[in-house]
Each structure stands twice: as C-alpha cells, then as structure tokens.
C-alpha cells in the first residue's frame, strides 16, 4: 500500500513562491488561481521584526468533506491518500468550496469548474514527484510514502517539533518565533455538513419515498374499491 504525506519545513522557507509558480505553470493556471499559497508572517515591532512564511494548499484530508458533498463524485479520495478532482465530471456547483475547512479550492469561472491541488497525483502515478516539492529552492518541501519504512519522510516527521495537522496528510515544522496558530487548524468535521449529508439527505429521501408509497397504496385501494362498485352504482357521494 501507499500512503502519501507531505512535510514542509517552514524554518527553511524563503518565501520565494517558486512552488506557487511551478504549480501554476504545470497546471496551466491563470495567475489568479493558486493551488499553493505563500503567506508572509511578521512577528514583533520595528526594529525587532522577524519575518517568515507559511505555505498552504489542499491538505488532502483523511475524510474529505469536499468529496462527501460532491453530487457527481468528481471529487474523491484516492486509495493512496491524495484527494483528486475529475474535471470533466465537475459541474461547478461549488458545494465543495463551502465544505472545505482550508479554503483550498477556487472556482475557475472561465472553465466552470472548481480547482485545487491534486498532490500532483498524475505525476506520482508516473513515478515523478510533485512540482512544488521539485522546484523548492531551499529544500523545505518533502513528499513521501508513510507506508514505506525506508522513505526519508519518516526521519523528517519523527522530529519532536514537527506538527501533524490532525486528520490530514500534512506535517509542518515551524521557525521558533512562529506559533502553532499560524498553521492550518487540525481537521474538525463540520456539524452542518454532517447534518446535511448523514441526516437531512437520507431522512428527506426516505420521507419522499414514503409519501410516494402512501400515494401508490391509496391509488391502488381506491382503484380496487371503484372496480368493486362498478355496476352497483355510477357515482358515489
């Protein structure tokens, strides 16, 4: 089995945004659409200011709500971890944008579909590595397979100061002066999305089915009754 994960050492990130641009070039994106973003963090007051960067992208959640709400199944979790979109099946309903806890998705108005980072899944299938990782000048990014004991990612993420974003495929290491709050929060399922998908939808569909069944039963009973009455009388009052 394969279980892909991603480690970003933000203490090495220089904020050059090469990852953003490599990704845009590879995916042929408009410059306004970024699958991977780089935010600058400033800590302290002048002249004692420390600057560092936080990169974010789709965290490839273990139980992705975007896939749960997708009406066509265009978004789905692959067996080896990455959450993927089949763009030809996307109808642009944007439920996934609403469901995503990490603002990782963008509506591409020109194409009428929602886009996001795919973990370079197609490249992984061909034995290549994600473009953002390959292009990183400082070596801050490392993709790996958690199920492969020899994968170098194990050495990186086993360090005590590495933070796993719970419920996702992402691990970060922070520079000393930046605290946990700068990173994406641990994954927490949304009560509303759960209520919609697991309560309202099935209950609503059962209710509509029951109504239809009641109508059909009534139809049958009344048809049977009127047949029984045929000949006995013409109209009933």
């Amino acid at each position: 089995m394969t279980r892909y994960a991603y480690f970003v050492d933000l203490s090495l990130c220089a904020g050059c945004e090469a990852c953003t641009v490599a990704c845009q070039a590879l995916n042929g994106l408009d410059w306004s659409i970024r699958y991977t973003k780089v935010d600058r963090m400033l800590v302290g007051t002048y002249p004692n200011v420390m600057s560092s960067f936080v990169t974010t992208q789709c965290l490839h959640c273990d139980d992705p709500p975007c896939a749960a709400v997708c009406p066509t199944g265009a978004t789905y979790k692959t067996a080896d971890g990455p959450v993927k979109i089949e763009y030809e099946n996307c109808i642009g309903c944007e439920y996934c944008i609403t469901a995503c806890p990490y603002e990782a998705r963008t509506y591409d108005a020109a194409a009428g579909v929602v886009r996001k980072c795919s973990f370079c899944y197609d490249r992984l299938q061909e034995g290549e590595r994600p473009a953002c990782e390959q292009t990183c000048l400082t070596g801050a990014r490392l993709m790996g397979d958690l199920d492969d004991p020899d994968d170098p990612i194990h050495e990186k993420i086993s360090a005590p100061d590495v933070i796993h974003i719970e419920g996702t495929s992402f691990y970060y290491r922070l520079p000393e002066h930046i605290d946990r709050a700068a990173l994406p929060a641990d994954f927490k399922p949304s009560a509303a999305t759960f209520a919609w998908q697991s309560i309202i939808q099935p209950v609503g569909q059962i209710m509509m089915g029951s109504t239809l069944a009641a109508v059909l039963l009534s139809l049958a009973v009344n048809a049977f009754k009127s047949r029984g009455k045929e000949g006995a009388q013409d109209g009933n009052s």
Partner: protein, 231 residues
C-alpha cells in the same frame, strides 16, 4: 340545490359567485399565482434533486447536470418575483383571507386529519365541515408560506455562495436541501389528491376554470358553502 341568487357571468370576487350547479372558487389572479408557483416549483424540484442526490446525478451525467443547474437558476427567477405581485395586484383580498385563515385550526379542522387518513386509504369516514380550505390544504398552505421565502432566501444565497462565510453556507445549503424535500413530499400528495383521488380531484377545476361543482363544494367545504350561498 343552490338557487341562482346572483347572476354571475364574470365573477369579480372569489367569495360571491354562485351559479345553478357550480360555485366560483378561485379568481384568475389566484389561479395564475398558483400555477406560476406550482410549475416553477416543479421544475426547481426536478432539476434540484439531481444536484444533491448522487443516484439521480449518475443517471443524468455531468453535461445534463450542468444544464439542470442552468434551468434551476432560470426557474428561480419567476418563482421568486412573480407570485407575490400577481397576488398583490390581482387577488389582494383573497390572498389576505387565505393567509389569515390557513393558520387557524378549529375543532373541525383537527378532526379532519383522522377522517382524511381513513378516506385516503379507502376506509369509510365522515369528514367534519370545513371552511374555504380544508385542514390538509391549510397545512400545505403553511408549508408554502414558510417554504417559499426559505427557499428563495437560501437559494439566492447559494447563487452567490462564495460571498458568504463557508460556515454560514454549510447551514444554508442544509436548510435549502431539507426544505426542498419537505415541500417535495407535500407536492406529491397535493398532485395526487388534485388529479386522481376520488372526492378530492373534483376540486381541480377550481384551479383551471375557477369553478367547482356546487354539490361537491357543499359536501367538502360545508362552512364555506354556507358562507357564499347562505345555505
């Protein structure tokens, strides 16, 4: 049988017109408002179901669903903007009476439900006397009066989903979807009663020509019949 007390060839008011063997139930504006609401709602329900239920969306395919999405937004326009103005300009008095009446349930209204269930499944039942709207129609009306603004507000928010906080939209989508299915149940029953169910389908003409058979009105809407005919 009702004597023709008022010679009403072109009835102006819903409450007053009686002819030899029929009574006037719904004015042209009331009927137009009903059919605008009904037809746009059915189109919205049909196209909307595909956008949430994966079984249906699998049958239609992504191209079909994109078209459904377009239809859904276009049908939302007459659904949103036409019904209230038609009622306001064409049937203000009748609409106010309707709103006033459907929220009031007297003892006869409550007794309607057990009798209705029996009748619905073909058992013998004595339905208590009803006003212009029977208790079932009152429930359906309340669902529409609450459901229409709910669907309109949440629906147009969904057109501009990304302008609102995702946490808000998650609840909005849930409400839109749940209310749609509740209204879907109501419309299934409503259509069946109005077109096929003996004892109820006779009322369909009231929403087409506006007139219903006097005898049927007397049997099913005893209090209303007394009010308009004096008998």
């Amino acid at each position: 049988m009702a004597t023709a007390r008022i010679g009403a060839r072109v009835p102006a008011r819903e409450e007053a017109a009686v002819q030899q063997d029929k009574v006037y139930r719904f004015s042209l504006a009331s009927r137009l408002a009903h059919w605008n609401h009904a037809l746009t709602f059915l189109l919205l329900l049909f196209t909307g179901m595909g956008l949430v239920a994966r079984g249906i969306s699998g049958l239609v395919g992504p191209e079909g669903l994109r078209f459904f999405g377009q239809l859904h937004r276009w049908a939302a326009v007459p659904f949103t903007v036409l019904t209230i103005p038609i009622l306001f300009f064409g049937a203000r008095k009748a609409a106010l009476r309707w709103i006033n009446e459907v929220f009031r349930f007297d003892r006869d209204d409550l007794r309607f439900f057990p009798a209705f269930v029996r009748e619905f499944f073909g058992m013998k039942a004595e339905s208590p006397p009803q006003g212009k709207f029977n208790a079932g129609e009152k429930i359906n009306s309340i669902l529409q009066i609450i459901g229409w603004p709910t669907m309109v507000i949440t629906g147009w928010m969904m057109v501009y989903k990304t302008s609102f906080p995702p946490a808000v939209m998650q609840w909005v989508i849930m409400v839109h979807s749940g209310m749609a299915m509740l209204l879907g149940c109501a419309v299934l029953g409503h259509i069946y009663l109005a077109t096929l169910m003996p004892g109820f389908r006779e009322g369909l003409s009231g929403m087409i020509s506006g007139w219903v058979p006097a005898k049927w009105a007397k049997d099913h809407y005893r209090k209303w019949y007394k009010e308009i005919t004096g008998e």
